[in-house]
Amino acid sequence: MTAYFWQWWQGFVTVRLRGPGLERLLSKIAQAGIVLWEVERRTPEVMLARVGVKDFRRLRPLLWGSRINICILDRHGLPFLLRQIRGRLMLIAGLIMCLVFILQLSSYVWLIEIAGEEMLSFSELKLAVQELGVKPGVRRASLAPRQIEKALLLKFPNLVWAQLELRGVKALLTVAERSEAKGAAKPAGHIFAERDGVITQVLVLRGTAQVREGDTVQAGDLLISGVYYDGRGQKQFGSAEGIVRARVWYQAVGEAPLVVWQPVKTGERRLQFLVTIGPWTIPFGKSYSPETHLADRKDWWLSLGRAMVPLGFSRVDYWAVEHQPVPVPLETAKVQARALAWDSLLQQGLDPDEVRSENGIVEPMGDQDGIRVTLKVEAEQEIGLFLNQ
């Protein structure tokens, strides 16, 4: 490898020797102090070999008087490369400028990542580190990680450990929070009904049950009281514990259109280019509203392994569209409306595994342009909610 690098540095050529008595010529060349390498015999009269650029000039006189001719097949090495790029000074200048630009950009922090947070929220910690100067676009050298860590520990008493690492253009904050002490006394309080329902099961672990199986309760009713009598018959007020399950009912509505207005490309296209440097985006060309144009965006990001450089280039194709009505089959509309109703049920806190029965009513909407599905679901679930006093 070293030998090859040295040859490449000095430059070498691949030559073809053609004629009779090639072995004799090779001996003559060697006697003249010229080194050949990768000597390859192609046919009895043809040989390929590599020779240094300086030695090649000394090679020609040795061929005089022989019937052997020589021609250069290929040129390799730095001298040839330099000759090639000599006429492209602007290309070199551009490459150097680009390199300097990338190096300059990589001396800033562009990304902030936070790991290990549990009770504290991500946004809370991000805001705190931003107040301490860790924000996109700040110079890496201007940050003092140890001081920032100390300041974070002082600001959040729940933090027991914090580490700020600068990895390339990324600042990674890793935190560890204080875990709640085991066996800590729970505050005194009662368990109340979270929803309306009919009680199916009551299991009291601590406290006094205020409802029985078969009772109808409304949201906010007391289910298990924290007041109880201990083994010595003394009245105590503590933390109510237990399980209260009930049959509950959910209702949700989903609507779906029977006609949709779909965008159809007219064939007219507009281009926009975006150059992104860190948090800034510079547009070249006009933007169009999604109502009149469909956007097809392609992004290219410059990255150097782990050290990602926040330099991006995007191309956005805006396709002009016209909206045309397309009828939706009734069955498809029903499925869509039902799916929307289920989404709504899930958002209300329904666990699908707890569903006992389901009833759906399909009806046309007032303007006849869509349908409405009303879902009524019966479920059995725990409805107890502990509230401390």
Partner: protein
Amino acid sequence: MGPNSTNRLRQKFARTFELPAAPLMDYAIVSLVGNMEARITNHKGLLQYNTACVKANSLQGVIEVVGTGLQIKSFSSSEIRITGEIQQVMLK
């Protein structure tokens, strides 16, 4: 003083001072690296070269390397480096 007497003198000198004979006597040295590479040092010119046989001249006679896929990796006045699958090395 003829070449034979010069050689004898060199041989005697090497023996007296317990020096290695090869450099003094201008002996050809053939080194083998497994059956993949052969180096002929102190050769006196190339006589024949193809993928099956390389013959080089030396003061002690013709050195013949026989094999398959033979190629001269480097060739200089002092050394020939041959690679390929070497089967025989002969001094004739």
